[in-house]
Subunit: 306 residues, 3 copies
C-alpha cells in the first residue's frame, strides 16, 4: 500500500450527435466513447533492480453517458486489461492475464481515427463488421512484447483454450524510425473468453509516413472465417493534417467479402486540443453497405485524459 | 496519468437500527447510507488557462453493509455521476453524461436531513413516495450551471429521448446571501435512462434562514403525474440547532395527493461531529400513511468522508 | 476529498498451470489468485485525537485472468470487505458492514500456504469441502478486535439475521510472542448475506512455532453441520523453510467426516521473493478424496502487491 507507486488514470469521452446505421434509423444521442472508449485504470510498477521491473494493470471500460460499467451490457468489469508481469529493458515484457491484442494495437496505430469504435473505418472494418472474431483483449493470455532494437520490435500473444474449442494466437512485427512506421500482424482466433467463436485467421499490413504537413496512413488485410467459409479483403487509407492547435482527420476504407455486401466507409473530422489532455472534436461518417440505406453519423464531443 | 490531478474521495455511512415501513413489519439491521448514500468517487480537473478548466467525475454508489455495488440490485455502477465538461469562471459549467438533477440538489439543500434517503422526509416525499419519476441523476444529459452573480445562480438540465418516449428537462434558480437562501425548481420527466416512465411535472419552492441559534428550512412543491392523472402537494419544514460539536435535527413533512392516502413524516436526530470528516448520529422517524400501521425507524450510525 | 488520506492498494496473482479436481479431468489454464485471491482496495484513516481514529475500507476481488469482477459469477463487488469504524489504541476497534471473519483469519495465519484458495489444504478443508457454510466475509456484521495486551488479543463478530433464519457469530482468542503463536476460534453460521444456509458450528485450534530454520504450523478443528447432521474432523500440519530469497512451503491436511469420504491433501512449493512486493512461485498439490481419482494441480505464478 505504498501509494506513490500506484497510478490512477483514465479517459472520459462524451459527445452529442446523431447516428444512423446502414439500413437503420436516425437516433440523436449523448454518447460515450465516440473517439476513444471511456475508461478508468490503475497501474503499478516496481523497480526490481538490474533493469527488471514488475508491472500490474487493471483497466475498466465504462459508458459515461449512462454511468453503466463496460462497453455493453454483460461486459466484464476489467475488460480493457488486467494483468501482472515482468519487464526487462534488455529482454522485453511478459504479462499474464487479460491482454490487448497486437492486431488491435496495430489497427489503431495505422489509421487517422485511432481506436475510435465510433468513427474509425479501420476499427469498424476489422472488428465490428462480422469480420475478426474474439475481442480486442484476450482473457487467459500471455503477451510478450520485445524491446525496440534500432526501430524494430515484435510481439507474441497466446490465449489458452481452457476447455473451449482451441487456442488463440497472434503476432506482430513492426518498424518505426523518424517519419516512417510499418507493421505486419497475424492472428488466429477460436475462442472469446470461454465461449467458442467462429475460427478466423487474419493478416494485416499497415504503414504510416509523416510528411510534417500531413501524416498518411495505409492498411491492407484479409480476414478468413474458416467456420462459415468466407473471406474479407480490407483496404484503408487516411490522413491527419495538423491545423492550428489540432488536426483535420480523414479516413476511408472498404471491405470486399467473397460472399456478401461490399462496405465503404468515409470519416472526416477536426480534433482541437485545448491542452495536452483535453480536446474537443467534430467528426462525421458516411457508412455504405451495398443494398442498404446509407449510414450517417456526426458527433460534437469533448475528451479528457487524466 | 499525472496522478496529482486525480482526486479519490467518497463517503461510507453505516448504522445499526430498526425499520418498519408504514403497514410493514419491523426489521433490525446493519444498513448502509441511512444519512448519506455511501459512495466512492474519482474526479479530475485541468486548468486550461483564461479561467477555463476541464472537469471529469465518476461516482459509484455502494451498499457498504453487504459490499454490493449500487443502491439496489441492477443499479448502474456509476449511478451517482459520470460526466466530462468545461467550466468557465465567467460563463459557467457545462457537463455531458450522467448528471445529478437540480431538483435533487434543491431538495437536499433545503431540509435539515440533507440527502438522507433513510431519514429525510423531504427526500422521501419528493423521490420515494410514488411521486417524482426518473432518478436523481439523469443519463444522456447536458447540465449547465451558471456562475454566482451577487448571490444569484441558475441551472438547466436536459436529457435526450434516445428512442424513449420523450425528453427530460429541469431548471432551477437560486439566491444565497449570508443567512438567507431560496430556490425555485421546475422539472419534467418522461424517461429514466432508456425506460419510459410515467410523465411527471414538478415545481418546488425552498428556503432556509440561519438565525445562528438555529437554521430553519421550508419547502413547498407539487408533483403532477400526467400519465395516471394525480397530483401531490408536498409541504416540509425543519430546523437544525447547533448543540456542542454537533446539531439537533428536526424535519416534518406531509404529502396530500388528489387521489390516495395522505402521508405525514417526522424525523428527529442528533448528529455529533468527531471531526470535520467523521460524525456519529442517532436518528428516529415516524412515518404515517393514512390507513396503514405507522412506520417507525431508528438508527445509530457512523459516517466518514474521505 | 483530502487525497493524502486515501490509500489505494491491492494484489494481482496470476499463474500458468494445470488443475485436476478429485474425480475430474485435467485443465491447463492461466488463472488468477492461486496463492492469494487478486483484489483492489481503498482505505482511509483519520486521526480523531486521544488515540481514536476513524477507519474506512472497501476491497474488491477480481479474476485477473479474464478481467471479471468478483471471485465467481454473481459475487458482490466489494466482497472482500466494506466497512467503517472507530479504532481506539486503548479499547480496540469496532467496524460495521462487511467484515472478514476471525475463523478465516485464524485459518490463513496458521498454515504455510496462507489464504491460498488454490493450494492451501487448510483453506480447502475448512472452507471449500462442503464444511463451513457462510462466506469468509460476513455482510451486516459488527466486528470487535481487541488491542494486544502482552501478546494476548481477541475478536468478536456478529451478523444480524435481517429476516434470514438466524444470526451468525464468531470469536477468537490469540496469543503471539516471539516465535510462538496460538489461536482458538469458534463460529456459528446460519446465513450467508440474506440467504439461509445449513447451520454449521466450528471450533478450531491453531499454532505455529518459528525455529528460525523452519516455521512449523498445526491446526485441528471440527465442523458440525446441524442441518444435514454430519461432523468433520480436520487436521493440518505444515512448514515454511526459508531458502535463499524465498521459502519452501509444505502443508498436509486431512478431513474425516462422520459420514462420507475421507480427504487427504498435500501441497508443496517454492516461493521466491524478487522484492518485498513481488514474488514468483512454483507450487503443486495432490488432493485425494476416497473413491475418486486423485486430484492434481501445479502452478507457476507471479504475484505483485501494490
Amino acid at each position: 500500500s505504498a501509494q506513490s507507486t500506484v497510478n490512477l488514470y483514465g479517459l472520459i469521452d462524451l459527445s452529442i450527435g446523431s447516428n444512423k446505421a446502414p439500413g437503420g434509423t436516425r437516433l440523436r444521442d449523448v454518447d460515450s466513447g465516440k473517439m476513444t472508449t471511456s475508461y478508468l485504470g490503475f497501474s503499478a510498477t516496481e523497480d526490481l533492480g538490474s533493469g527488471l521491473s514488475a508491472v500490474v494493470k487493471m483497466e475498466h471500460f465504462l459508458r459515461a453517458d449512462t454511468g453503466e460499467a463496460g462497453r455493453f451490457g454483460g461486459d466484464t468489469f476489467w475488460a480493457r486489461t488486467a494483468h501482472v508481469g515482468l519487464s526487462s529493458k534488455a529482454a522485453g515484457t511478459v504479462t499474464l492475464g487479460r491482454n490487448t491484442t497486437p492486431l488491435f494495437v496495430a489497427t489503431l496505430r495505422m489509421n487517422a481515427f485511432g481506436d475510435s469504435f465510433g468513427y474509425s473505418p479501420s476499427i469498424r472494418h476489422f472488428f465490428t463488421s462480422g469480420t475478426v472474431t474474439g475481442d480486442t483483449g484476450w482473457s487467459d493470455s500471455i503477451l510478450y512484447t520485445s524491446p525496440r532494437w534500432g526501430g524494430f520490435s515484435f510481439g507474441l500473444i497466446g490465449a489458452l483454450a481452457e476447455g473451449s474449442n482451441g487456442r488463440n494466437w497472434g503476432m506482430n512485427a513492426g518498424y518505426a524510425d523518424g517519419p516512417v512506421a510499418a507493421t505486419v500482424t497475424l492472428q488466429s482466433v477460436k475462442k472469446d473468453g470461454t465461449a467458442a467463436v467462429a475460427d478466423t485467421r487474419t493478416w494485416q499490413l499497415g504503414g504510416s509516413y509523416d510528411f510534417g504537413a500531413a501524416k498518411l496512413f495505409g492498411q491492407y488485410g484479409r480476414v478468413k472465417n474458416e467456420t462459415v467459409v468466407n473471406q474479407y479483403r480490407i483496404t484503408e487509407i487516411g490522413a491527419k493534417v495538423p491545423v492550428g492547435a489540432g488536426a483535420v482527420l480523414a479516413q476511408w476504407g472498404q471491405i470486399k467479402p467473397d460472399t456478401g455486401a461490399k462496405r465503404d466507409t468515409l470519416s472526416l473530422g477536426y480534433d482541437h486540443n485545448l491542452s495536452k489532455r483535453t480536446d474537443v472534436y467534430a467528426v462525421a461518417m458516411r457508412d455504405h453497405v451495398a443494398g442498404l440505406s446509407t449510414g450517417l453519423g456526426y458527433a460534437l464531443g469533448v475528451r479528457h485524459r487524466f
